[in-house]
C-alpha cells in the first residue's frame, strides 16, 4: 500500500528465523530435490537420473504412477467428504452455542477439547474405540447388526477415518463460525424478526452471507490439513486394509523408509508439495478476489 520510511536494520530481526528455516526446511528440501534427480542403491553411490523418476511417477500406467494416481484420488475424495460433513456440522454447532452468560465459556471449552489432543493420541483413541471386541464404537455397531470391521472391510476403515476426522476437527470450524456469527450486529436479527422472517430465512439471508469470509478460511485450512493427513490413519488403519486407506503421505513413508526407494520417494514428495502449493494459491486468489468484489 503506502510507502513507509525504509529502515534496513529491521532485516536483522529476520536473520535468526532465516537461519532456523534454512536448517530445518531449506537444506533438507534441497537434499530431497537432489535425491529426486539421482538414483542410488544405498552405499552412497549416486547416478544421475534426470527427470526419470518424475516421468515414472506421473505416468499412470507404471507401477509407481498407478499407485500415485490411486492415492491422489483417495486424498481428494477424503478431503471432499470431510468438508461436506464438517462445514455444515460446524456451522450448525456454532448456531447452537449461546451468546451470553457462563454457558459460553463452557461450550467453547468443550468444543475445543478435541482440537487440543495430540494427533497420535487421537489416532490411538479411535483405534481402540473401533475395535470390535473391546471398542465401544465397534462393538456397538456390530451389536445393532451393522457389519463393521475396520481392519478387514475397506468401507468400515474409511468410515472410521472420516468419522474420526469429523470428531477431531469440526470444533475448529464451529469456533471460526461462532466468531463470524458473533460479529453480526443484533440489529440484523431484530430487523429480521420485525420482517417476519423464518429461522431458515434468517440463516440463508443474514448469517450465511456474513459467514462467507470465515468459511473460505475454514475450508482452506481444513482442505490443506486433510490433504496432508498422515498421523491418524497411520495409527488407526496403517493404510489398510490392503491399500484402502493409503493416502499419499502414507505411501510416501512406505516407499521412502520401508522400501528405501529414495528416488521415487523424493520425486513423490516434490510432486505432492507442488500440488498442495497450487491448490493453496488458487484458494488464496479466490479469497482476495472475493474481498475485492465485495467492496464494503
Amino acid at each position: 500500500m503506502m510507502d513507509k520510511p525504509w529502515n534496513n536494520r529491521a532485516w536483522l530481526f529476520v536473520v535468526p528465523v532465516l537461519i532456523i528455516v534454512l536448517f530445518s526446511s531449506l537444506l533438507p528440501m534441497m537434499t530431497v530435490v537432489n535425491y529426486s534427480v539421482q538414483d542410488t542403491m544405498g552405499q552412497n553411490n549416486f547416478f544421475w537420473n534426470g527427470v526419470a523418476w518424475f516421468q515414472n511417477l506421473l505416468d499412470p500406467t507404471t507401477d509407481m504412477g498407478g499407485r500415485f494416481a490411486n492415492a491422489l484420488v483417495r486424498n481428494l475424495i477424503f478431503s471432499l467428504v470431510i468438508l461436506c460433513l464438517e462445514v455444515p456440522l460446524g456451522i450448525a454447532v456454532a448456531l447452537c452455542i449461546p451468546k451470553h452468560g457462563w454457558r459460553v465459556g463452557a461450550s467453547l471449552v468443550l468444543i475445543a477439547l478435541p482440537l487440543l489432543i495430540p494427533w497420535e493420541v487421537v489416532g490411538t483413541i479411535w483405534q481402540i474405540f473401533a475395535r470390535q471386541d473391546i471398542g465401544l464404537f465397534g462393538a456397538a455397531l456390530n451389536a445393532i447388526g451393522l457389519h463393521y470391521n475396520d481392519t478387514q472391510d475397506p468401507t468400515s476403515a474409511w468410515a472410521t477415518i472420516v468419522i474420526m476426522d469429523v470428531w477431531h476437527w469440526t470444533g475448529m470450524i464451529a469456533l471460526l463460525s461462532y466468531a463470524g456469527l458473533k460479529a453480526i450486529p443484533d440489529a440484523f436479527y431484530q430487523a429480521a424478526r420485525i420482517d417476519g422472517a423464518s429461522r431458515w430465512s434468517i440463516f440463508r439471508n443474514i448469517e450465511l452471507p456474513k459467514l462467507q469470509k470465515v468459511l473460505v478460511i475454514a475450508v482452506l485450512l481444513r482442505f490443506m490439513e486433510s490433504f496432508m493427513i498422515y498421523t491418524e490413519p497411520s495409527v488407526v488403519t496403517g493404510g489398510g486394509p490392503g491399500e484402502a486407506t493409503s493416502f499419499i503421505s502414507l505411501d510416501l513413508v512406505k516407499i521412502a523408509l520401508g522400501q528405501v526407494d529414495l528416488g521415487n520417494a523424493a520425486a513423490l514428495s516434490i510432486v505432492y508439495y507442488l500440488i498442495t502449493l497450487t491448490i493453496c494459491y488458487v484458494f488464496f486468489t479466490i479469497m482476495t478476489q472475493l474481498d475485492q468484489r465485495k467492496g464494503v
Binding site: 431484530q190 424478526r193 420485525i194 420482517d195 417476519g196 422472517a197 439471508n205 465485495k294
Partner: protein, 361 residues
C-alpha cells in the same frame, strides 16, 4: 392503531438488592398521536434509546404499561407490534436485489405476488429507489441502503408506527439533506406515527412536529420547535437548542430588575424575591442579544467569531463567558469596550433551572 400511550413507564436496570435503583428512564406519561412526527432529543445517556426500545419491544420496562390504542402491549414481542424500525446503520439482506429486499416482509406474510409488486413499486417511487430496483442491494451507497431499510418498514400496510434510531449516522454529511427531506416527504405522504431518536438538534427540529427533550432519563420539555426555541421550560433546553445555545448569568432579582456584577437588566415582569439557596439565573439567546457601541450593559469584547452569515461576539459578564450577535458595521475588535442589549421579552428568569414567569410589571 391511532395512538401509543405511556402509562407510568419507567425503567431501572436490576442492581444489587437493597441498593437504590438507578433509573435509566424516569417515570414518563405521554400520549403519542397517530400521524404526528415526534423526536426524542438529548445527549448520550439521556434515556432516549431506552425509551425507543421500550416502544419497539426490545426492552420490557421495569415499571408501567405501554398501550397501543387501548391494548396493553408491554410484553408483546416486537414482531407482533405493527411497528417498523430503522437503525443507525443500514440493515439490508446482502444477497437480494433492492426489489427483493423491499418485498421480503410481504412475502413472509404470504401476500400475493402482484400485490407485492405494486406495493414495492409504490414505496420505491416514494423513496426515489425506482431506478435501482433490479440492482443488488450490496453495492449501493449508504444512503440508498438506509432508504431500503426504511422502505422495508413502510411496505407493510399494517405498520402504524415507524421508529428511527439516529438513522443518519452513517450518511455522508453532504447527503443528509436529501434524506431528511425524504423523511419529511414520507411523513406527509403516509399517515404514520413517527418517532425519531437523535442527539442532533437539526434533525429533531426539522423532522418533528413535537420534540421531547430528555436528559439523564427524565423528560424536560415536550413542545414544537418554535416553543422550545422561544420558551424553554428548563435551562438545559435553552442551552441545548440553538447554536450557540442560551447564555445563563447568575443574577439577583430585585422586583423588575436583575443585577449581575454591577450590570442591571430590566425585566418585563415583577418577581417575588427568590428563597435563600435557590439558583437564580438570567437566560438570553445570542440571537436576541446584540453587542454594539452603545447600550445598557457595559462589557468588554473577548473574541469575535465571523461565521460568514453572521458575526458573534464573545464577552465575559458576572464571571461567565457569554456570546451575542455583533451588530454589523460597528467596527468593534477584541479588547474593545462595548455594550450588550437584550431584546425586550427575551430575557428569561430561571430559578433552580426552571423558567419562571413573574407577574406583570
Amino acid at each position: 392503531m391511532a395512538s401509543i400511550t405511556l402509562d407510568h413507564i419507567a425503567h431501572a436496570y436490576p442492581g444489587p438488592p437493597g441498593a437504590p435503583k438507578h433509573y435509566a428512564l424516569k417515570q414518563i406519561d405521554h400520549l403519542w398521536q397517530q400521524g404526528r412526527a415526534y423526536a426524542l432529543l438529548g445527549p448520550s445517556g439521556c434515556g432516549k434509546t431506552t425509551l425507543l426500545n421500550i416502544i419497539s419491544g426490545l426492552v420490557i420496562p421495569s415499571e408501567g404499561r405501554l398501550l397501543f390504542d387501548n391494548t396493553d402491549v408491554t410484553r408483546l414481542p416486537t414482531e407482533r407490534r405493527n411497528i417498523a424500525q430503522v437503525f443507525q446503520f443500514p440493515v439490508i439482506y446482502d444477497t437480494m436485489t433492492v426489489a427483493e429486499n423491499l418485498a421480503f416482509p410481504l412475502k413472509n406474510r404470504g401476500m400475493e405476488r402482484n400485490a407485492i409488486k405494486r406495493r414495492v413499486e409504490e414505496i420505491a417511487d416514494l423513496l426515489d429507489l425506482r431506478p435501482d430496483l433490479g440492482r443488488r442491494a450490496r453495492g449501493l451507497t449508504a444512503d440508498a441502503k438506509q432508504k431500503i431499510s426504511l422502505g422495508r418498514g413502510l411496505v407493510r400496510s399494517d405498520v402504524s408506527a415507524v421508529l428511527f434510531d439516529e438513522p443518519l449516522t452513517v450518511i455522508d454529511p453532504a447527503l443528509k439533506w436529501e434524506l431528511r427531506s425524504k423523511l419529511k416527504a414520507v411523513h406527509q405522504a403516509l399517515d404514520l406515527l413517527m418517532i425519531y431518536v437523535t442527539h442532533d438538534q437539526v434533525e429533531a427540529l426539522t423532522f418533528a412536529d413535537e420534540v421531547v427533550v430528555m436528559k439523564d432519563g427524565a423528560v424536560l420539555q415536550i413542545g414544537t420547535p418554535a416553543e422550545l426555541f422561544e420558551s424553554p421550560a428548563h435551562s438545559f433546553v435553552g442551552y441545548f437548542i440553538g447554536s450557540p445555545g442560551m447564555n445563563f448569568l447568575p443574577v439577583t432579582i430585585d422586583g423588575a430588575r436583575a443585577h449581575a456584577d454591577g450590570a442591571v437588566f430590566d425585566l418585563d415582569a415583577r418577581y417575588a424575591p427568590p428563597g435563600a439557596g435557590q439558583k437564580v439565573e438570567l437566560g438570553f439567546r445570542p440571537d436576541y442579544a446584540t453587542i454594539s457601541r452603545q447600550g445598557p450593559v457595559a462589557v468588554r469584547v473577548d473574541r469575535i467569531e465571523d461565521l460568514g452569515r453572521r458575526t458573534l461576539a464573545r464577552f465575559t459578564l458576572a464571571g461567565k463567558e457569554a456570546v451575542a450577535t455583533l451588530v454589523p458595521g460597528s467596527g468593534l475588535a477584541p479588547g474593545d469596550d462595548a455594550a450588550l442589549t437584550i431584546a425586550p421579552g427575551h430575557a428569561h428568569v430561571f430559578i433552580d433551572d426552571l423558567r419562571t414567569e413573574g407577574s406583570p410589571a
